[in-house]
């Protein structure tokens, strides 16, 4: 590290240093520079190697410890009380699907609408402000969104509900979908918009049935990425959906979710519960990866094979 630091430090303070070293061109400085060059490039290879290790380790443990417990009962049964072996996560899987559905129904139209606005009124003062604020919203910790939904939707009604959970997740989703939509719409060539207007389309029809439609595969990708992101969220649900050991599909009742079930099982001192936590994590990750892959596929068909 020290030769790199001295060599680079000297060079940085005086940009002429290459010429100096070249003109003095003793074989030793050249060799040293070459060694530093290779060493540092080697270090970036090492960084890449180290950075991929955690992912491989996590995947390895999920599969080796979780796969054996992913069985029929896991998908069809609800949790058993502590002490009894077996049981599954059927209620949590259904709960996660319901929570994601509520979040999508609220978050997608708002996100897409806001994205259309940002792309079409790009320079407007309001658009600049909304763009910045959507980044701010995106940067908020999810737990803060949970507190928000709890204060607004749980506290006044005095009980936890799936609806509150879905709204907290929708608040996470909106900025993601907004920015994805904006970017995709900006990729649509102006000529398409102009062609539609020249054919006598009104502006709103041009926007919706030409521009939005062209950008749709990209927006689907953005939406799927957002769904993948919220499906694994736990923190906001602690305050809102709360979790449920029993079968419930009602939006006004506390509801179970896979990530919360993993949390409960992981923190428990029972081996059987830890085992189920691994299985739950494997299923959750598989779900997230499948959605992410679908997202990639949606984009590919847009930019690669898009025939029409």
């Amino acid at each position: 590290m020290s030769p790199a630091a001295t060599g680079a430090g000297a060079a940085r303070s005086a940009p002429r240093s290459y010429r100096d070293t070249l003109s003095r061109s003793s074989a030793r400085t050249l060799t040293r520079r070459r060694v530093v060059n290779h060493a540092m490039i080697g270090l970036t290879y090492l960084a890449a190697l180290i950075a991929t290790v955690p992912l491989l380790l996590i995947l390895w443990y999920l599969v080796s410890r979780g796969a054996a417990s992913v069985n029929w009962a896991f998908f069809t049964e609800i949790p058993k009380p502590p002490g009894e072996l077996g049981g599954g996560m059927a209620n949590a899987i259904a709960g996660t699907l319901i929570l994601v559905a509520i979040a999508s129904v609220l978050g997608l139209p708002i996100g897409i609408g806001a994205g259309l606005y940002l792309a079409e009124q790009r320079g407007a003062r309001l658009a600049v402000a909304v763009r910045f604020l959507s980044d701010v919203l995106n940067g908020l910790p999810s737990i803060v969104l949970g507190i928000f939904a709890w204060q607004v939707l749980v506290r006044p009604f005095k009980h936890f509900s799936a609806l509150a959970g879905g709204i907290a997740l929708a608040a996470m989703m909106i900025p993601l979908v907004t920015r994805a939509t904006e970017e995709m719409i900006r990729l649509v060539p102006v000529s398409m918009r102009e062609a539609a207007l020249a054919l006598g389309y009104t502006k709103w029809r041009t926007s919706l049935s030409v521009v939005l439609r062209t950008a749709l595969p990209g927006i689907v990708t953005g939406a799927l990425v957002a769904v993948a992101r919220i499906a694994g969220e736990t923190a906001p649900l602690i305050f809102t959906a709360f979790g449920n050991q029993f079968w419930s599909l009602s939006p006004t009742q506390p509801i179970a979710a896979i990530p919360m079930q993993i949390y409960t099982y992981a923190m428990a001192p029972y081996d059987d519960w830890n085992r189920q936590a691994w299985a739950g994590a494997l299923v959750l990750l598989a779900l997230v990866f499948v959605i992410s892959l679908a997202a990639r596929f949606a984009t590919r068909s847009r930019f690669g094979l898009g025939g029409d």
Binding site: T44, L55, G113, L116, V136, I147, L197, T206, T234, A281
Partner: protein, 330 residues
Amino acid sequence: MTDAAATPPGLSATPADGSSAARIEGSSIGDRAYRWTTTAFALVIPVLLVAIAGAVFTAGWPALSKFGFGFFTHSEWDAVNGRFGAAPAVFGTIVSSVIALVLATPLAVGVAIFLSEFAPPWLRLPVAFFVDLLAAIPSVVYGLWGILVLMPFLRGQVMPFVKETLHLGDFPLFSGPAYGPSMFAGGCILAIMVLPYISAVTREVLLAVPRSQREAALALGATRWEMIWDAVLPFARSGIIGGIILGLGRALGETMAVTMVIGNSHDISASLFAPGYTMASLIANEFSEATNDLHLSALMAVGAGLFVVTIVVNAVARWLVWRTSRGPTA
């Protein structure tokens, strides 16, 4: 139509508005309705933010008004006697985030340089894919892995190595008994979690550095590394710092994984091997066991603090990244 062709894409529809002699009557109602609808959707975002701020501060107000700013500097947390101070959580949030950044930054920047400059084409895609996937893993899965795999490993291998093999056991940072759940474990998990964010921003910023910058350095006789170090990195510096601060924003607010491995203790300890608390993990861990309104309110006040801090941190980060990636102006 020439008019529209000259304007940037986003605005193309607007100038036609005034000069729409050829516009069919009635279409403007649809256009106006469309415009108002999208504007209304866009307005949801600021309204939502205001509502979040309002809700979080309302929820935390009883505690904030009772303890004042001292809430964040006192370290006593006594739910029974109704005395609350969040200093240990603030301390833990800072320490765990710093550990995470110290561990993750060199790796993330290294990976970004590797991907943007040195990676052979056949390696670039898989490595980028793997690092991106790290960002897709849910927090609770990190927590599960952390508590059942990483923590035993740290307690069994890494901590004894630091204390005995390296003889650093008397050094305050590593003193005391080596617990599994600890500030160090929390920092390690956070490091893995923020790595993809820092690396993604850094890569983006490096790609925004003009080719001419690289070619000029090479033409002056720089080696490839000297080109990176002297020409590319200084150019990208503020963007990279922005990426690191963005990672900091993630680390500050990260909840589940940290809650599961940090030990959840209200003691402030100099040792990284001792358990601690972070603001987010304090809220998540004590929410369900909060016994009275003041306790709940104290937790929400911690949330309000987190809200303010993450907004400031993210705003600074966005500004730095924006300043770099808009490219060389003037």
